[in-house]
């Protein structure tokens, strides 16, 4: 500042020199002439040659940045009319295209008549300062946009989290009721305040499963009924084009205007959106989501549609699974008795461990049923092959044996009839089977008669620990027309047990070794005299310990223990 304010001679320099040195231009206005006069500094600040300024308002405005010209003009016009001091900041565009920020301060004097009589002012370049503040403004704008983006990304992350949660909720279960419940619960944990999920059921046919959930109660209530008795169903609402007596939902929202629906929904419900649940081209249900206060956005509707799509597939799969499961259950029931009948004087238990992981189906089977003359039939069979085909053959053999056993007096005769039935079957099932017929003895024990078609020999486990195999011989059934079947008998004294088993028991593997007949006898010796259920569980545990963690084969163990004396 010293260099500017003082000359080397130590005297004040003329004002004009000081102003020029500071880069400050001056101007003067003569209202009577209507002309403005600029000094050379002002002209250079505006980017024009010295002496080239035209002096008119138009010439001035022509030099301004188009975006700033309007504001500048109106300010100057208003000051020119009433006088006073002003400060103005605007951009100018130099002929070479350079843009500069200028700031001006001026004063308009008015006469006693109130009209302007004189005007003057200064102008200087503030580009650097203005740019800085522009930068700040831009930075601020960036910050604002960033905050918006963060908010938007939170919203989309929320949506993503919601989709992931919904995926998890819908992924696990293959049970229709549970899937509907989970969908309803998922929708009401943040997204909707309440919802109704309706699904058409195959069983009972034509009925509707309706699940209502409310975010406040955190529960999902199931209701199943004939749709005729469910006038407020989401399905009917969403499908209203087929039933004009109900409101039709569109993609945005509707008011609750049917009395039936209003009765079904919370009193403070305002807006609803709905989606049909469509899988494999069929509408299997519908979902309605409602909010009490918040409005639905287009993004919300998209989200509901995405979830409805997934839910429809999950629900459809659950119904497919139900069909499959019903078939598997029917097979299982055809292979072994649902419940072993209670037999006076005989304690019977069975262990059935199928090799298949998912359904209890295999080629091994057993049966316990009453015969003529107070006799009981116990059988264990093993069909060649695996899986559903073997299970089908097992069911056939079990039914055929029941019929044969009623017609035949002796177990060997029953197996011969069964053999003929198998030979007549086009799919030619092959099977091994041990069949035991048990009759009460006057002494309180049981007389056992066994016929055996190629099956491991049944054992009598004496109460004392002795083991006696029942050596009836015979060949595989379903292979030749006249299998050679001999019979053998044994007597169960009180406390003795008859043990029948499939080869899965003796062929259980540990590394390179099979469990084998001798180990089975050892295991049974340990539990001689125990209740039938304890024998099956103990052999099961021994086999599992033997195989350690290795997978096992199908196996059946059927134990009938004569009641202890007294």
């Amino acid at each position: 500042m010293r260099a500017v304010t003082h000359t080397t001679r130590g005297e004040w320099a003329p004002l004009s020199e000081l102003l020029t040195a500071a880069g400050i231009g001056t101007w003067q206005w003569d209202p009577d002439a209507g002309l403005v006069q600029w000094d050379a500094t002002t002209e250079s600040l505006y980017g024009i040659e010295p002496g080239s300024f035209g002096g008119t308002l138009d010439a001035y405005v022509a030099l301004l940045h188009p975006d700033d010209a309007g504001d500048a003009l109106s300010l100057i016009q208003s000051i020119a009319e009433r006088g006073g001091m002003y400060t103005i900041r605007h951009r100018v565009v130099w002929p070479d295209g350079t843009v500069r920020w200028l700031e001006g301060q001026g004063r308009i004097e008015t006469g006693s008549d109130g009209k302007p009589k004189d005007g003057y002012g200064i102008v200087y370049d503030v580009t650097e300062r203005s740019t800085r503040s522009t930068l700040e403004r831009e930075r601020e704008e960036l910050r604002r946009r960033e905050a918006q983006a963060v908010e938007a990304s939170h919203a989309s992350r929320d949506a993503l989290d919601f989709l992931i949660d919904a995926g998890d909720a819908l992924a696990g279960s293959l049970n229709t009721r549970r899937v509907a419940q989970r969908l309803a619960r998922t929708l009401t944990s943040g997204f909707a305040d309440f919802c109704i999920v309706d699904v058409r059921l195959d069983e009972p046919h034509g009925w509707l499963l309706s699940c209502t959930a409310d975010s406040r109660s955190a529960s999902a209530v199931l209701h199943e009924d004939d749709p005729m008795r469910m006038p407020h169903s989401a399905l009917r609402l969403v499908m209203a084009d087929r039933d004009p007596s109900f409101a039709k939902l569109d993609d945005t929202h509707i008011d609750v205007d049917t009395p039936e629906l209003a009765a079904a929904l919370p009193a403070d419900s305002h807006t609803l959106i709905g989606e049909a649940l469509i899988s494999r081209g069929a509408t299997i249900g519908a979902v309605i989501a409602g909010r009490s206060e918040r409005q639905w956005s287009a993004a919300d509707a998209d989200l509901l549609r995405a979830i409805a799509k997934r839910a429809a597939v999950a629900l459809d799969q659950a119904e497919l699974y139900r069909d499959r499961s019903a078939i598997a259950r029917m097979f299982q029931q055809s292979m072994s008795p649902n419940e072993i009948p209670a037999i006076e004087g005989l304690d019977v238990a069975a262990l059935y461990l199928p090799a298949t992981e998912l359904v209890r189906l295999g080629g091994d089977f057993y049966d316990v049923f009453a015969m003529r003359g107070a006799a009981w039939s116990l059988s264990v069979g093993d069909v060649c092959g695996k899986g559903v085909v073997a299970a089908g053959h097992a069911g056939l053999a079990r039914a055929a044996l029941r019929a044969a056993a009623h017609a035949a007096d002796q177990p060997a005769d029953a197996l011969l009839v069964l053999n003929r039935t198998l030979l007549a079957e086009p799919s030619r099932p092959l099977l091994t089977m041990a069949l035991a017929q048990l009759r009460r003895t006057p002494a309180g024990g049981w007389r056992v008669t066994v016929a055996n078609g190629g099956h491991p020999p049944p054992l009598v486990v004496r109460r004392s620990g002795g083991i006696d195999p029942i050596e009836a011989k015979g060949t595989l059934l379903g292979y030749v027309h006249d299998p050679d079947l001999t019979m053998d008998t044994a007597t169960l004294e009180p406390g003795d047990a008859l043990v029948m088993y499939s080869d899965g028991v003796i062929e259980s593997r540990r590394g390179r070794q099979l469990f084998g007949f001798e180990r089975l006898k050892d295991a049974l010796r340990l539990v001689a005299g125990s209740p039938a259920g304890a024998i099956t569980d103990s052999v099961g545990a021994t086999l599992d310990a033997w195989t350690a963690e290795a997978p096992r084969d199908d196996l059946v163990l059927l134990v009938a223990k004569a009641h202890d004396a007294g």
Partner: protein, 324 residues
């Protein structure tokens, strides 16, 4: 009748049940039923008695026949208690209960059934021998709100883990309990169970707290889990190696020794699964204690296992050496 079950009552229970004397056992049990809840009697008398009988057999002081007789009596006692204590209220939801895969101690399951039924839950109890895959079908068929898994021995925890996974993958929370889990929730957490019940009486509350939905099972995330997977994938070949090597080591019939070595291997596997070295250490200490009964001593078996283990299981080797 005193309102508290004392150790001598448990001894009486063991004596009467292992003699197969159901009427006398019921007389003892029913004496407490007026004062204590059925669940308390089951926990403090029936379950405690069963545990004592198990220890008695393991210690060589009871025969397996006595253990079976006691279990059969206990089963019938539990069934009778159920019949005589009507459920307090009924709930809409139901629960599936079962033992860990390859755990055959089904009496715990019967008691679970009784305690949950008394609390108003409908219960489907699956028989021992049920696999994780079969559990999945049951869940899909019936849609329970929770699966309760009991596990009696730590070495069987991998079987509990498979049940937990099957349950969660079918969208259903798995609540675990039983002696295998110890006295704190750590092991239950390590196998990613949804809940843990410290004892029989805690099960209804755990079901109420955790029942509902579960996301699909998560991978277990702790340092020893990769060795757990590696060990399991090689169990077949390790078993064969042990079978081949054992006769050389003991100079004769090796069957019991192979069985005992495989049990240690299962314990090792559970240790890696739960990242809990106490499992293996306790199992080995326990077999050492009972070797006087004629059971194979564990330390020479550990040497055979170490020889059979592949080199890519450094943590497993270290655990075995520490436990020896």
């Amino acid at each position: 009748m005193p309102a508290e079950i004392r150790p001598e009552d448990v001894s009486t229970y063991v004596a009467r049940a292992s003699a197969g004397d159901e009427p006398a056992t019921w007389e003892l049990v029913s004496g407490f039923l007026g004062e204590l809840s059925a669940a308390e009697v089951m926990r403090d008398l029936v379950a405690a008695g069963q545990h004592a009988i198990g220890l008695c057999w393991q210690g060589g002081r009871c025969t397996i026949r006595q253990e079976h007789a006691a279990t059969a009596v206990s089963q019938r006692i539990v069934a009778r208690m159920m019949k005589e204590t009507p459920p307090g209220r009924t709930r809409d939801d139901f629960v599936v209960s079962l033992s860990a895969e390859r755990d055959w101690h089904s009496i715990a399951n019967s008691m679970l059934h009784a305690v949950l039924t008394a609390d108003g839950w409908s219960v489907i109890t699956l028989p021992p021998g049920t696999t994780a895959g079969q559990l999945g079908s049951v869940i899909h068929d019936h849609g329970p709100i929770a699966v309760v898994v009991t596990c009696s021995m730590p070495a069987l925890l991998p079987g509990a883990r498979r049940i937990v996974m099957a349950s969660q993958d079918a969208g259903t929370p798995a609540i675990v309990g039983g002696r295998a889990f110890g006295s704190d929730p750590r092991r239950a957490q390590r196998i990613n169970a949804n809940g843990w019940a410290s004892d029989l009486l805690g099960v209804p509350a755990a079901v109420a707290a955790h029942g509902g939905f579960s996301p699909p099972s998560e991978r277990i995330d702790h340092p020893s889990i990769s060795e757990y997977s590696l060990l399991r994938s090689q169990l077949g070949s390790i078993t064969a190696t042990i079978q081949d090597a054992m006769p050389r080591h003991i100079g004769g019939a090796a069957e019991d020794h192979v069985g005992a070595a495989l049990w240690i291997l299962r314990s090792l596997s559970a240790t890696l699964l739960c990242d809990d070295p106490t499992i293996l250490a306790e199992d080995i200490a326990w077999s050492r204690d009972r070797s006087w009964t004629g059971a194979p001593a564990p330390d020479p078996l550990v040497d055979v296992i170490l020889d059979a283990l592949p080199d890519d299981l450094p943590l497993a080797r270290q655990l075995l050496m520490q436990a020896r």
